[in-house]
Amino acid sequence: MNVQRRKLVFTVVFIVAGMGIATALALKAFQQNLLYFYSPVQVAQGEAPTNRPFRIGGLVVAGSVVRDPKSLAVRFVLTDTLKEITVDYDGILPDLFREGQGIVANGSLRPDGTFAASEVLAKHDENYMPKEVADALKKAGVKMDYRTHAPAP
């Protein structure tokens, strides 16, 4: 094999190997780290997994936020206007968390049907409403103001 040919072979092998390794890494990481989103109605229908974390979203039910007087633990109820789910969280809620507001939580389902959140997110932009929540609400039949992504008055 002449130098030119050898170099070409090396380059091709290198690129293919690099791409292969990267793809393998990516696929492995993908399988482990994809977080699927479920709305309260889907959870109620038993569609959500019980053995792996997922995302849930909805509106915080007014008057449902209960704080533990000693620690940072907090319990609140999320709704997509059809079904409700109780969420437990131990930590500081985001600035934009408030009753009536749409939020998203990462965590997993407990056997008793409550959701143990490891992270609570509120959308930090001018639209106030996480996309997933807006979609879930729309599916539940709530009319949305498309510009603000808030339920229409």
Partner: protein
């Protein structure tokens, strides 16, 4: 009246862009000198119109002209002046206008600093940039007009998102955009070279300073964005693998590959195809980034659904730019992948390996960023989180860092393992020892990761240091040698060391940061990593357009007062939106970071306390990289080109074979 003037100026700019693209490109094809010579004046007049349009929008913001819909949505009479100006690029329409203005400025810079280039080539470059300008101007005028009026203007505006009311956000977007748009010059040069069929070393030399300059701005822009997120979002994070961040990171990765590949093309005439492809990719990703961030594709698919014109326009524009340039590439690029002769063990090969690794890393980020979008169009809902990116990206960076240390050392064309080993063995030994020492000194499961990361970074710093030292020792005397080294050499050393500094900051802060979320009231104390945080007072302070709750936190260490921090929870009146203002005690080896959570009743507040070792090094490293890039751009050989502008032939043929 003035908004209409702005609108009119945009239309005039579009006409100028049409002249700037049609006549020069057609003229270059037909050898018509008069047509080609229209390029410069058309580009300059276009800039004048763009400045008028931009000023008109700034004027509308400054004078609170709420009859302009865009102003009404993003400003308020209570907003301080500086934020009324930065609100111009606070949302979609205005940021596109800023984009196009920056494109005009880059084009103007090309008209100034291109006198040494062949007229035909300049005509094509400016023509291609004019085409980009047409695309964007049409997009603004048809779908996103910032000068749109409302017949019934509101009494006051809806205010700027409080998150954006921050000095960091005043300069971050312009910096980032300057980087994005800067790649349009590299793109223009690449397309012009393809059109002319002359993809040579001279082309690489011409486009190199422009590309590096764009890369410098992009580096600074990303670092500013990360720094802003760190102090503004109130929970001490500095990189989230958020789609918006990825959008700026992908062009950076490709741009980094591009400037290194350009080096090989300029010095040795190799990888021409690869370099052109990278130039096309870098700009395409910049376009993708601009649109992803501002069009709302990522934050909401509804933006697409409710304003289909925008979405369709974006897709068509991206399709034309990416598809068109790739077709041109397939048609005109020279046939072989490897055109010039070099050995397997040579600087060329190291550069090729690294630009491939960077490209693979970019593809991984791209996959993770657009996968949720693809799934969403298929009806599913999924998010790809940070663990994915970390587990793919970090393993790819390890070989990159190893090869980096060798690449700067290896000779062009061919080199020997033995020679490299002679010079670099001490760097290898030293970094291995540093790694082992660190692993034994540090505790916890993170020790191995931190030790490995620091060892790799040390390898990079040491090999660069030895390279520098060897150069100095081989010169006649220190002062003369220091003076005669080309600036690009200093630039390279600085940038590589900067990269290592960033790595050190990254591994230490991500493995050894500690945090505590606590319920506190005035007088309470909390311990974290050897520091005692004492909440001393909470009071209310009025701001210009917000009401703030201010907490004073004193930090003690071994009985001594270290610092007093203030963190605020602000509620911005107009949007009734709360914001956290973190209190940060900065330091070279550690940041102390506190932020106020929420009132819990009975005078209690939730408080976040963080200890973040070496976090400043992240941005310090980026600053080093940017300075390195600036030094390289001001290298003598680029300045000489300008001095000898009268004789283009000599420049193409000659030019001292400067060392990198």
């Amino acid at each position: 009246m003035i908004p209409e003037l702005g609108h009119f100026a945009l239309i005039m700019a579009l006409c100028m862009a049409m002249i700037q693209s049609f006549f020069p490109i057609a003229g270059a094809a037909r050898g018509n000198v008069a047509w080609m010579s229209l390029a410069r004046p058309a580009a300059r007049v276009q800039l004048v119109f763009l400045v008028i349009a931009f000023s008109a929008l700034v004027h509308a913001f400054v004078t609170n002209d709420f009859s302009v819909v865009y102003v009404a949505r993003n400003s308020n009479t209570m907003l301080p002046l500086i934020y009324r100006i930065s609100a111009v690029w606070g949302a979609h329409e205005g940021s596109l206008l800023l984009w196009i203005l920056i494109l005009g400025l880059w084009t103007f810079a090309v008209t100034i600093f291109s006198r040494h280039l062949p007229e035909q080539f300049v005509a094509r470059v400016l023509g291609v940039m004019g085409l980009i300008s047409i695309g964007f101007l049409l997009f603004i005028l048809i779908t996103s007009n910032p000068f749109l009026r409302d017949a019934l203007p509101p009494l006051n505006g809806a205010d700027l998102n409080p998150l954006l009311q921050d000095p960091g956000l005043v300069i971050h977007p312009p910096m980032l955009y300057t980087g994005y748009v800067g790649f349009s010059v590299a793109f223009g040069f690449a397309i012009a070279a393809l059109l002319g069929g002359k993809l040579d070393m001279a082309w690489a030399r011409w486009s190199r300073p422009w590309t590096v300059m764009a890369w410098v701005f992009l580096t600074l822009g990303i670092a500013l964005g990360s720094w802003w997120a760190y102090y503004e979002l109130g929970w001490g994070g500095w990189w989230f693998w958020d789609p918006v961040e990825n959008a700026s990171f992908m062009p950076w990765l490709t741009g980094t590959a591009l400037i290194h590949s350009l080096a090989a093309t300029e010095k040795r005439g190799v990888f021409k195809n690869w370099t052109v492809l990278l130039a096309i990719c870098a700009f395409s990703l910049s376009l993708l980034g601009t649109f992803m961030v501002r069009s709302g594709v990522l934050t909401s698919v509804h933006a697409f659904a409710n304003d289909p014109a925008r979405g369709v326009f974006i897709l068509i524009l991206l399709g034309i730019v990416i598809g068109g340039s790739l077709i041109l590439y397939a048609w005109r690029a020279p046939g072989t992948l490897i055109s010039s002769s070099f050995k397997l063990f040579s600087r060329e090969m190291f550069l090729l390996v690294n630009s491939t690794l960077l490209t693979v890393a970019m593809s991984a980020v791209l996959l993770g960023t657009i996968y949720p979008l693809i799934i969403e169009t298929l009806g599913g809902k999924v998010s790809v989180g940070a663990p994915y990116f970390n587990s793919v990206f970090i393993p790819l960076m390890v070989p990159l860092v190893i090869v980096m240390g060798c690449g700067a050392w290896a000779r062009w064309k061919s080199d020997e393992w033995n020679r490299l080993w002679q010079h670099l063995r001490y760097a290898v030994f030293a970094s291995v020892i540093i790694g082992i020492l660190l692993a034994s000194m540090l505790s916890g499961h993170a020790a191995l990761k931190a030790a490995l990361g620091v060892a790799f970074a040390s390898w990079n710093i040491l090999s660069t240091g030895i390279l520098f030292y060897t150069r100095m020792r081989n010169g006649p005397d220190l002062l003369t040698t220091l003076k005669t080294q080309p600036r690009s050499f200093y630039g390279m050393c600085l940038a590589h060391i900067g990269f290592a500094i960033t790595i050190i900051g990254l591994v230490i802060t991500s493995n050894y940061s500690t945090d505590l979320h606590k319920r506190m009231k005035p007088g309470d104390k909390a311990e974290l990593s050897g520091y005692t945080f004492e909440l001393t007072a909470i009071r209310t302070i009025p701001g210009p357009n917000y009401e703030a709750t201010d907490a004073t936190i004193r930090v003690w260490r071994e009985g001594k007062l270290v610092t007093e921090l203030h963190t605020q929870k602000r509620v911005y009146g107009v949007r009734d939106m709360p914001m956290t203002e973190a209190g940060i005690g900065p330091g070279l080896t550690r940041d102390l970071y506190v932020s106020l959570g929420e009132p819990l009743g009975d005078g209690d507040w939730s408080v976040r306390l963080y200890y973040k070792p070496f976090v400043r090094w992240l941005w310090l490293g980026a600053l080093f990289m940017a300075c390195g890039g600036l030094l390289a751009v001001t290298d003598r050989r680029y300045r000489q080109i300008r001095l000898r502008a009268t004789d283009p032939q000599a420049v193409i043929a000659g030019g001292a074979p400067a060392k990198i």
